[in-house]
Point group: C2
């Protein structure tokens, strides 16, 4: 099967024009098929402040009331997404900006209001993805660029970018050998959280469980590792956790981040 890179970037790349430019230059130089998923949190908060729309968070997740839904639809799906696409086009990369509503690519269910009401938040799973159309776009050498938005019942829904990246990776594993690259602020999973040179270069289920038993991971990285192994066990060939500045290395054999595989 052909290789496919699914790359998720977060706020730290987007908030600085220079790092975004550098990242997009590297991204566009990857020869294999690829998909980009971006967030846009701080830019939404900044425009929210100017519009008098308060950003509310419960347990680290944004609460999406109706004005906030309009805000994130504008900022994620409009401003951030199209600026990235226009820049990639100028670099010769045929990017296409998308949300889950476009082409029904990711259909969600609105999260039910339980103990906490997250408002217009979309929950998704691998069944949500229209992988046929996505596969067709990739075959046309189109590079999908996803904003973290999905849809249900005529409404846009705010959806976690990490979750979108994982679900796309799982869904497309039937067509490609997927490497899911989760960019974050550290160069990889660290043995010593205070030492950026202590990257654990490889992890598989066995070594992960043995390190886990020894209590080697600090709390912040655990959800990322759990998500990574969930993806791996659902068919994703490799998950890489690393820094966006190492994108080129991390899309080669000689990775700098933490490469996670099943065995």
């Amino acid at each position: 099967m052909n290789k496919l890179y699914i790359i998720k970037i977060g706020g730290n790349v987007l908030d600085e024009e220079k790092s975004l430019k550098e990242f997009l230059k590297n991204f566009s130089s990857i020869h294999e098929p690829k998909i980009l998923i971006h967030g846009g949190g701080k830019i939404a908060t900044k425009f929210g402040d100017r519009l008098g729309i308060e950003s509310k968070y419960i347990k680290g997740r944004r609460v999406t009331d109706e004005p906030t839904l309009d805000l994130v639809t504008m900022v994620y799906g409009g401003l951030v997404n199209k600026q990235i696409v226009a820049q990639l086009q100028s670099l010769g990369c045929n990017a296409m900006g998308l949300t889950g509503a476009d082409g029904n690519l990711i259909k969600a269910t609105k999260r039910p209001a339980g103990e906490v009401d997250y408002g217009f938040a979309g929950d998704i799973n691998v069944e949500s993805v229209n992988s046929t159309l996505l596969y067709f776009l990739l075959k046309q050498n189109v590079i999908p660029v996803f904003a973290p938005l999905t849809h249900a019942n005529g409404s846009m829904l705010n959806t976690n970018a990490d979750t979108i990246a994982s679900v796309l990776a799982i869904s497309l594993s039937k067509h490609f050998d997927v490497r899911l690259i989760m960019c974050f602020e550290k160069p990889g999973v660290l043995e010593d959280v205070n030492n950026p040179a202590s990257v654990i270069r490889q992890l598989n289920k066995e070594s992960y469980e043995s390190l886990l038993a020894k209590g080697s991971f600090h709390d912040g990285i655990l959800p990322k590792l759990e998500n990574a192994f969930a993806a791996i066990q659902s068919g994703v060939k490799e998950v890489l956790i690393g820094e966006h500045t190492h994108l080129l290395a991390n899309t080669s054999y000689d990775t700098k981040g933490t490469l996670i595989t099943l065995t």
Copy 2:
């Protein structure tokens, strides 16, 4: 050749939730391939006011400075476009929201600053359109929904929605029998501008020129007629000028608006 409807709607449809809903219901019920192009002027102005971004116009055209470009990219490409797409999806219409940057579908040139500097305004012609990709999307039963934005040199550009509709119609005429439907606030071209019942039901080059010589058209409709005949002479089979509430009639043989053909 197969029929293709290219339908442009303006502010009067978008500014009222109820008329937009009704329009989209009708649009989604059209069986043939179709493309929608929307504006979004008043909504942009409203958000501009809230953000303290002044709307400036010269000769009826918005001047797009940098804050205005961000504004229209957010509102046209994000809010309005994705709300339309989500609604169409709920009606079973596989809409895909697009700007000219996405898939390099419409590549513009930034309008040179002459006597008037319109800022980030994009000029386009039939060579600007990536009709191959658009044709492929239509073949996949995807319904493109265009925001009035294009791109050049890494930047988004604000582009007149009527022009986008015409240019798409001309470009796709090599693949389809195109009927370009320009929705506006009157039921068609009127013999008597004060009498909505006086719609001229058919116009061809000959009858147009004879009515033109008699001074039968009022000034407001002339640019629309000139654009219509320019499209017709560039290969578009039919142009229809009419009201958005008559969409179903105007996508049938028994049209209510003004149907313009070459002969």
